[in-house]
């Protein structure tokens, strides 16, 4: 059963299997194991970023395409839900229409970008995606009457997904719409992640890997490289848009900084590299470590500074205000020690 769900793509490392199981259990029971608004928000963010990073891995790790437009697709999904909710009013229909419209818009845009630019060299494609993503970000900022500009949009989602909707208590945890919202995010991300695993382990996925290794050779054995690359770009964009829609449903707010910024694109790149490209499971490990570090490293450093208050120099070094520097150091070290990513290293060392 597990093998079927994982499409025959076992973790191939005991440590990795344990880590993945820990993440799965941690996220599945997050509301009960880590009560509190902040912890739940962190767990939901991890779920969404696992999906976003996995969809990017389909592009970068499996097909060898470098794109800087991934957060643009993420943003299209998020703005789809936001705009539908603003204009159609609170309701499930607005969520459905917004999600579908966002995914469709992302797919069409990805298809157009792919059609016009996947024939060119990889570096030019990367530059084109960067230009398109920047243009969309500027457009969203300029069309403030529609998109709320830099302030973004706040909107209402169905009451069943908000904290106001309460229906009891379990193990001391209040059961409310926020919990339902979390499980909507969790199960949708899980299902889409398993779908991605299925895609990369299908014959289609094998062709993508062949293209990544040697596109000329793949063409010479009968595969239209540009068609496969475009298809992978569209799938990846659609799933990124769905992740964006989930983020919008979870946050009840969208803005350029939360969904379209280049910083998010860099974060996604780092998560793929740290986790391990072309592995899918790397997305799980990379996103979890990264989001946890982003949310808790500062607290951890605060505790360390307090504990070492009597010592010279060390409290200054671990001052919570220096958390970004240490985050950078951690990434440099992880790339240095795990050049194939954490998953690549774990699999090689079995």
């Amino acid at each position: 059963m597990v093998r079927f769900l994982l499409s025959g793509d076992a973790p191939r490392s005991r440590i990795l299997a344990v880590l993945l199981a820990l993440v799965l259990v941690g996220l599945a029971f997050a509301p009960f194991i880590f009560p509190g608004v902040r912890a739940l928000h962190t767990a939901a963010t991890i779920c969404i970023f696992i999906l976003l990073v996995a969809s990017y891995d389909l592009l970068l790790g499996y097909t060898g395409i470098v794109s800087f437009a991934h957060t643009m697709f993420f943003g299209l999904g998020a703005y789809g839900v936001a705009l539908a909710s603003v204009h159609m009013g609170r309701g499930w229909d607005a969520l459905a229409v917004g999600t579908l419209a966002g995914a469709l818009a992302a797919t069409v845009l990805a298809w157009l970008i792919g059609l016009f630019s996947l024939r060119v060299r990889a570096i030019f494609f990367a530059m084109i995606t960067l230009a398109v993503a920047s243009a969309v970000a500027v457009l969203v900022s300029q069309l403030y009457q529609l998109t709320g500009g830099e302030d973004g949009l706040t909107y209402q989602i169905p009451r069943e997904l908000t904290p106001a909707f309460r229906f009891g208590e379990l193990f001391g945890v209040r059961l409310n719409g926020r919990l339902l919202n979390y499980y909507l995010v969790f199960f949708t991300c899980l299902a889409l992640f398993l779908l991605l695993l299925r895609i990369v382990n299908s014959p289609f996925g094998r062709v993508l890997q062949a293209i990544r290794e040697n596109d000329f050779r793949a063409e010479a054995i009968g595969y239209r490289v540009v068609v496969y690359r475009t298809a992978a770009t569209c799938m990846s964009a659609a799933i990124a848009a769905l992740a964006g829609s989930l983020y919008a449903i979870w946050l009840r707010y969208v803005g350029p900084d939360t969904t379209l910024s280049f910083e998010i694109m860099i974060d996604v790149l780092l998560m793929v590299v740290i986790g391990g490209m072309g592995t899918m499971y790397g997305a799980v490990i990379g996103a979890t470590i990264f989001v946890l570090a982003q949310n808790y490293l500062q607290n951890l450093m605060g505790l360390a500074a307090e504990a070492t208050a009597g010592l010279p120099l060390i409290p200054d070094l671990v001052d919570p205000n220096r958390w970004l520097m240490w985050l950078g150091v951690l990434f440099v070290l992880s790339v240095y020690f795990f050049p194939t990513g954490i998953v690549g290293r774990l699999r090689a060392g079995r």
Partner: protein, 240 residues
């Protein structure tokens, strides 16, 4: 005499600013092995890549099985029945031997009987069926590369230096496999630097020099005429 399976008429190809093929004309008879010979750098590999569609010819005609294919993509040429074994083998290292073979069977699942035949011709492929192709030795990679082209019945096989850099024992396995393919009536165009191999397999021969086909005829004629070899290729081949 039947129409050749492949014919090139005054084909010219550039790579970047370099004019490599300067009007290649040759033909490959059906059901025969045609050897493409010549010194290094005369355009043999470029000719193969141009036929396969990996390089675009800027002039001339390429006719395959009666149809002009110059404008076709490499993938279309493959699906039309051309199997290509490149000089660099071109295997997909991260994929297993099995995945490499399945990918090459573009018209569907590989035929079981053909696969069994390939296992008898290249036994290591069966042994390492589930292993990543990147872990194979050089000879085994070459076997995989050739087997991949042979997994489906092709109208024409383009094979670029199949014995390059291989140990003598592996070379004899290769020759055995190609002889078996020849026995089945396959049409083959093959670049080969090892003259002993060329003589053992070739029926027909085309010699290239400076981006042109300068001589074509029976392999046996070239193999026995040392003066001709000297004139065409600058040295006499002492086939072992």
């Amino acid at each position: 005499m039947s129409e050749p399976i492949l014919s090139l008429e005054a084909v010219e190809t550039d790579i970047a600013q370099y004019h490599i093929l300067k009007g290649v004309s040759l033909s490959v008879p059906r059901g025969q092995v045609t050897m493409l010979l010549g010194r290094n750098g005369v355009g043999k590999t470029t000719t193969m890549r141009t036929i396969m569609g990996l390089l675009r010819n800027k002039a001339g005609q390429i006719r395959f099985d009666g149809a002009e294919i110059s404008g076709e993509l490499a993938s279309s040429r493959c699906r039309a029945g051309i199997g290509f074994v490149p000089e660099d083998m071109g295997i997909f290292s991260a994929l297993t031997v099995e995945e490499n073979m399945i990918l090459a069977a573009v018209s569907g699942a590989p035929d079981r009987a053909r696969l069994d035949w390939l296992f008898t011709v290249f036994p290591p492929l069966k042994t390492f069926w589930k292993a990543p192709a990147g872990t194979l030795s050089g000879g085994q990679k070459q076997m995989l590369s050739i087997a991949r082209a042979m997994i489906e019945d092709r109208k024409l096989y383009l094979i670029d230096e199949p014995t390059k850099g291989l140990a003598p024992a592996i070379v004899s396995t290769m020759v055995g496999a190609l002889r078996e393919l020849k026995r089945q009536g396959a049409s083959i165009l093959m670049v080969e630097q090892n003259f002993a191999v060329a003589r053992a397999l070739g029926d027909h021969c085309v010699v290239m020099d400076d981006g042109r086909a300068t001589w074509s005829g029976a392999m046996a004629d070239l193999a026995t005429d040392h003066a001709l070899q000297e004139r065409l290729m600058g040295l006499s081949m002492e086939a072992g």
